[in-house]
Symmetry: C2
Subunit: 174 residues, 2 copies
């Protein structure tokens, strides 16, 4: 079986979450399985292992799972991008459009050094708005984005269109 098909078999579809009409891709059923967790971590690591990475940026909060593992495996630092009022020190903020309304994410101003080579990671890319905002925060802080990686890409939502110019990678595509 293809790795991506094997990993798909561990992902649970939850109908009408977080709101009616949306089929949520639940990765907790993959995370709780030791073999699936390791294979997913390996697949993400193999996409980036030949690059020198200074910081892995994980997006709150499901991007923290594999983001932290990748930082450890790459011998890089880990930087969380968080929702407002979660980070205690001075932050850069970025507001982006949702289907209805807006959302904001933040990064500590001292989290990235000028010239740092950065991997940005989240569990899922849907419309790409959150990842685009995270990339803007990393560049505002002076980082160079080497790769933007996702465990799951919902390719019918064309999220890559918002990440033009970046090296976008994913392990599982729907």
């Amino acid at each position: 079986m293809l790795l991506s098909d094997e990993l798909k078999s561990y992902i649970r579809d939850v109908a009408d979450f977080p709101k009616p009409g949306i089929v949520f891709k639940d990765i907790t059923t993959l995370l709780k399985n030791p073999q699936a967790l390791q294979k997913a971590s390996d697949a993400l690591f193999e996409l980036i292992q030949h690059e020198k990475i200074d910081k892995v940026v994980g997006i709150e909060s499901r991007g923290f799972f594999f983001g932290a593992m990748l930082a450890s495996r790459l011998q890089a630092g880990f930087v969380p991008v968080r929702k407002p009022k979660k980070l205690p020190s001075k932050v850069f903020s970025e507001t982006y459009a949702l289907e209805y309304g807006t959302d904001t994410i933040e990064i500590h101003q001292d989290a990235i050094l000028s010239g740092d080579r950065v991997l940005v990671h989240d569990d899922v890319i849907a419309t790409g708005g959150t990842a685009q905002a995270a990339c803007a925060l990393v560049e505002k802080a002076g980082g160079t984005i080497v790769q933007v990686s996702f465990l799951i890409e919902l390719s019918f939502l064309n999220g890559r269109d918002l990440l033009k110019g970046f090296n976008v990678q994913s392990v599982i595509r729907y």
Copy 2:
């Protein structure tokens, strides 16, 4: 230098966060440093490496960082304990007292199998209420708690008193 003193040098004190009078221990300054991240991960791993662990339970959301790394290193599954309405499938809930009011955390009902050997992890133990509730969730799901580990223990708050009967470990104490 003692490891715990060395790691302390990477932790930032932020006054009056999240509210006036509280000095917040900010671990993002440790996470972003590759050497400090690795040393902290190693220290937590060494506390548990000789035990067979089926699941690592990480508490939302700063418990996800080292929790996920530990799961990968222990070849265990990873299970997030989350705030209400974040987990998409059926959950067990546990409500616990705060200084003012209450809080609730949840775990997926199918996350832990009966007899699973579990490591519960969070970044900081303060009064111990959250960790106690997380342990109650794991036991409700049928798991056996082998260890409860924290990167940081605020020992003047006596959080261990709420975790009597469990094997409680920490790397850095204040």
